[in-house]
Amino acid sequence: MSERKKIDRRDFMRFTGAAAFTGATWMAVGEKAEAKYWQLDPAKCTQCGQCTTHCVLNPSAVKCLNQFDICGYCDLCFGYLQPGSRDLDSGAENQLCPTAAIERKYIEAPYYEYKIHEDKCIGCAKCVKACLIFGNGSFYLQIRQDICINCNECSIAKSCPSDCFSEVPQSQPYMFLTGDTYLAHPPALS
């Protein structure tokens, strides 16, 4: 019959110390300590254009996205075309984007797909504002986390007039625009 081992004072202190160390480590690397990324809330964005000029990167890490399930695939797309364009085509004089970052691709009559080339996008939000005013509001801005250098104090956040920048957990680095959130909280305009 084995003799039951008694826990002495020293073992108790060792066990307590190990438990405290484990708990502290979990607190340090656990959920509460998850890395944060800067992101902007498209429902608060007022398309002021300062994302272009206030980011420490050039071009800005803020890019336009097109939420295709909200997009109307319009022939007369105000996010793509200058207002009052005589021709609905991809002529340079007709394009709204100052860097020609939007590609217009024919799908089927009379619908077109609008794809953002993020390497050209400077985050000026002209297309976002135009689509929001005249279209379905499918264009919106987001910080591209693969480009953002995640400054300790984001210089765009500091100057954002609509206070739409916040730090989000690494596990949810984007605030996608959905039809439901759009209906509940339609994006603002400046």
């Binding site: 000029t53 105000f78 279209g135 379905n136 500091k158 994006p187």
Partner: protein, 338 residues
């Protein structure tokens, strides 16, 4: 020997320079304007586009109803002037003065309303249609019209009902058993039907005073008149963001109704504008209300005209039904259509 005294040439220059540097530092650190603002090429200025509707109008806002239903999306008036507002799980009924007189429960979100010639109520419920009797009991619910439907407007005749189906991008003609008789507005080159372009869930239709069916072609920014068999009779399109006599945006008009004189009342989204047109020719007649009366971003839920020709506009941003009446003593201003 007296030593020469070297006087500084500009004794205050250093002081001025230091003061300027201090002022610049103070400005940059306190105002947040460390970087230049976006230049004009990066701005989307809509001032001139919104100013298109800054003209005098003989219409004035004379009343307002705050709907007692959640998510109001449908608006209709009956022959007595009662106002029906459809929303989530209910239709609220108001008399002409705005007093609630009835609440009709329904199962689902009401997207559109119309009355049958015998006074029963038809309610679009996303992909279904409910027929509600005069005793307010649900007589029938029809659905499964197509693989994917979103019913955004109803126009009921004696033996047939026309449904604007934004998801199928066509008009469904059904009978009073809910059976689809034919589809209207799909591209058919043999019949010269150009095809309805519906880029967003805004798609309306209505009968004019002669019983003709007018269907909005929102992607082409105009109207088309159809026969029951799908033949197109006539059409007109007005697409120009810079002119008041045309429609702006990607898809307009989003709502239509007819007044007692048979004139077409249109409602536009984007910059909200309610206008009156002569329906056959598409000639612009006058502005009812312009974008300055609505908050940004602007939209319009539904539109109706009551028997007294009051124009009712469902304003989703304000969550109210706004009532506009013409001042008959005030002449309509000549519209600025340039």
């Amino acid at each position: 020997m007296k030593e020469p005294v070297h006087k500084p040439k500009y004794p205050y220059a250093w002081g001025v320079v230091m003061a300027a540097i201090a002022g610049l530092y103070f400005y940059l650190t306190t105002t947040g304007n460390k970087f230049p603002e976006p230049g004009p090429n990066l701005e989307y200025d809509i001032t001139a586009l919104l100013a298109v509707d800054q003209v005098d109008t003989r219409f004035a806002e004379t009343g307002e109803i705050t709907p007692a239903v959640e998510m109001p999306r449908a608006l209709k008036t009956d022959a007595s002037g009662n106002i029906y507002i459809g929303g989530k799980d209910a239709i609220a009924v108001y008399d002409a003065s705005g007093k609630e007189i009835e609440r009709i429960p329904v199962d689902g979100a009401v997207t559109c309303l119309d009355f049958t010639p015998d006074g029963r109520l038809l309610a679009g419920l996303d992909d279904r249609v409910a027929l509600i009797g005069t005793d307010r009991k649900i007589e029938a619910v029809w659905g499964d019209f197509t693989a994917r439907s979103l019913i955004t407007a109803i126009a009921a005749g004696e033996d047939e009902i026309f449904l604007a189906d934004a998801a199928s991008r066509c008009v469904l003609r059904i009978d009073y058993n809910g059976t689809v008789l034919n589809r209207i507005g799909e591209t058919d080159e043999a019949r010269d039907v150009p095809g309805l372009e519906v880029p967003s869930p805004y798609f309306d239709l209505a009968f004019d005073s002669d019983g003709h069916l007018w269907v909005v072609n929102p992607g082409k920014l105009g109207l088309e008149r159809y026969r029951s068999n799908g033949d197109i009779v006539t059409s007109w399109y007005r697409a120009d963001v810079t002119r008041l006599d045309s429609f702006s945006g990607c898809c307009n008009p989003v709502q239509i109704a007819f007044n007692s004189e048979g004139r077409l009342v249109t409602g536009e989204k984007g910059p909200v504008r309610v206008k009156i047109f002569e329906v056959t020719s598409g000639e612009f007649e006058e502005l009812v209300v312009g974008s300055s009366a609505f908050q940004l971003p602007q939209g319009i839920g539904d539109l109706a005209v009551d028997p007294d020709d009051r124009i009712l506009v469902l304003d989703p941003k304000k969550n109210s039904v706004r009532i506009f009446e013409a001042n008959e003593t005030k002449m309509a201003a000549k519209p600025n259509t340039q």
